[in-house]
């Protein structure tokens, strides 16, 4: 659609600006403020420059948390994206009762409060009362996510797959539904194999939504807090302490304002940078496909 230039449109955006300034810019300024100062209490602050940033960038604790976070995000992306595409290809295409039922049931995990997702898996994985934990334990596998780091990782990854694969499914399904029937008929006439149909018709058509799905999954998994917090609390030891959990420990648990603030800013910048790259790719692919 052609848009008319109109500077007065700013007035319509003003309420959003004021609100977001209040709920995002002011708090962010506080963070910036803390990140360059130190305090001895009594509200006496003095300037320390970039010291906190240097501390954080060299801190082993933060490096470890970042490494765990990166591994976690890489694993869940590697599972959720192919699995999501696979399931989306098998979603019923015709509208009807079965397809509505599938849609509703598939979307259900997305709508469960995150802490309840944690609670569900906390119960489900316990060896004494949970179906998963009990079965694995009966099979003779040493599975106790409160003590065994590997089991804790397994629980959190399968929980995330359970929780978020449906997002990839729904987005890919929306992309697939926009493919006109004529494309498939043409492929049939050309006697294209199933793989060819997937690679030359379905995948290119899904590209846009798939990029969005990866962007969203990257962002959200990089900020994950509630689910591991409820299930393992970052333990055993520090085995599942991801960036957000570590940050909250530092900021609210230990009240180390300076380092926590510097940590926050670096954290935010990392997410912003990766997301911006994705966003640019998405916008460009939007332009190419002409929508």
């Amino acid at each position: 659609m052609r848009k008319t230039p109109n500077q007065k449109a700013w007035f319509m955006v003003l309420p959003v600006l004021v609100l977001v300034a209040f709920s995002a810019v002011i708090p962010l300024m506080t963070v910036v403020n803390y990140s360059v100062q130190d305090t001895f209490g009594n509200n006496e602050f003095f300037w320390v420059g970039l010291e906190w940033f240097e501390d954080i960038l060299q801190s082993e604790r933060v490096h470890d948390a970042l490494a765990r976070q990166a591994i976690f995000t890489a694993i869940i992306l590697a599972i959720e994206v192919p699995l999501g595409i696979f399931v989306a290809l098998h979603m019923p295409k015709k509208n009807g009762l079965w397809s509505s039922l599938c849609l509703v049931l598939v979307a259900l995990p997305l709508l469960i409060p995150w802490n309840v997702v944690g609670t569900i898996w906390q119960i489900f994985g316990r060896i004494d009362i949970g179906l998963l934990g009990y079965s694995l334990d009966q099979m003779g596998i040493d599975y106790n996510y409160t003590q065994n780091a590997g089991a804790a990782w397994f629980t959190i990854i399968i929980m995330d797959v359970w929780h978020w694969t449906s997002l990839v499914v729904l987005l890919c399904y929306a992309g697939l539904k926009s493919i006109p029937d004529a494309y498939y008929q043409a492929a049939k006439i050309d006697q294209a194999s199933q793989w060819n149909v997937f690679f030359y018709i379905e995948l290119p058509k899904m590209k846009g939504v798939l990029l969005i799905a990866i962007l969203l999954r990257f962002m959200d998994s990089f900020m994950i807090y509630t689910e591991p917090f409820v299930v393992t609390g970052g333990g055993p030891g520090n085995a599942t302490t991801f960036l957000s959990i570590d940050l909250v420990k530092m900021a609210i648990g230990q009240f180390d304002l300076g380092p926590a603030a510097a940590f926050s800013l670096i954290y935010f910048l990392v997410i912003l940078l990766v997301s911006w790259v994705f966003y640019t790719i998405i916008i460009n692919s939007d332009k190419e496909s002409g929508s």
């Binding site: 708090p27 962010l28 049931l105 259900l108 709508l111 009990y134 729904l170 900020m223």
Partner: protein
């Protein structure tokens, strides 16, 4: 043959999704004694006591009331401010519009953990700590950008000729917006409301940080029970089941737009 294979895969996937939820429901109908003493696939001794606890103990049902209060406040605020902004983005070009649009998205990317402490201090200093409005305002951080993005997507689908015809017919902007435009994007507003509701409902970190007693959310109530001594699994499971219900009830109505909402209106 192919249809059968697809159906089979879907059934497996849905089973995988439903099993943990079934287990939660199963737990919620058992007494604590049964949960801890015997391992059973269904409740042998069906009891509604866990639900009774939630509906009679004020510390539990107040959690639900508090959550619903701030979630509704947040949804109303978000949609009210997002409507004109989305209209501006979908109809006009103005200085810095693209940058502004991306900047809004960056707020959706901000980790809530970064904002937890500053929010706590900001709302404490203006005396709003432990009130519903504090949580509602804090959640606008990610819900307002979301609302703008989804609404913009729906508004782009309405041809501009409709606006122009209305102006020629002598409608002022506000009457046009209320009488003609809003009904046209009614489903969009519904979907946006659903997603604002959902994302505010599922959030834990900010609502837990900003409340203590008077406005304590159900999510916070649940985690605090979990950390207290002597876990009451049955009641916890029942509370979990009750938090799933609102989403499960409305999801049927938005099922065809659900991808759009999760993808920030970009599908």
């Amino acid at each position: 043959m192919k249809i059968n294979k697809s159906a089979l895969i879907m059934i497996f996937y849905i089973l995988f999704l439903m099993l943990p939820i079934y287990w939660l429901i199963n737990m919620s109908f058992k007494s604590n004694q049964e949960i801890l003493s015997t391992f059973s696939l269904w409740p042998h001794d069906l009891t509604f006591d866990n639900y009774k606890v939630i509906f009679t103990d004020p510390s539990w049902y107040n959690g639900y009331l508090n959550s619903i209060t701030y979630v509704v406040m947040n949804t109303v605020i978000s949609i009210t401010v997002a409507l004109p902004a989305a209209y501006a983005f979908s109809r006009y070009r103005f200085m810095g519009d693209k940058h502004l649009f991306f900047w809004l998205l960056t707020n959706r990317m901000a980790p809530p953990a970064v904002f937890a402490l500053p929010f706590f201090q900001l709302y404490s200093s203006v005396g709003l700590f432990d009130t519903h409005i504090a949580v509602a305002l804090a959640h606008t951080l990610f819900n307002v950008p979301l609302a703008v993005w989804i609404l913009e997507g729906f508004m782009r689908g309405v041809p501009k000729e409709i606006d122009e015809t209305a102006y020629i017919d002598g409608y002022g902007f506000f009457t046009f917006f209320r009488k003609i435009f809003m009904p046209l994007i009614a489903s969009g507003i519904g979907v946006t409301a659903f997603f604002c509701f959902m994302f505010s409902w599922v959030e834990l970190l900010l609502s837990r940080t900003l409340t203590a007693v008077d406005a304590k959310s159900i999510a916070a109530t649940m985690t605090r029970t979990a950390s207290a001594s002597g876990l009451d699994w049955g009641v916890l499971a029942a509370a979990g089941v009750l938090t799933i219900i609102p989403g499960a009830l409305v999801i049927y109505f938005v099922r065809n737009h659900i991808a759009k909402g999760f993808a920030l209106g970009r599908v």
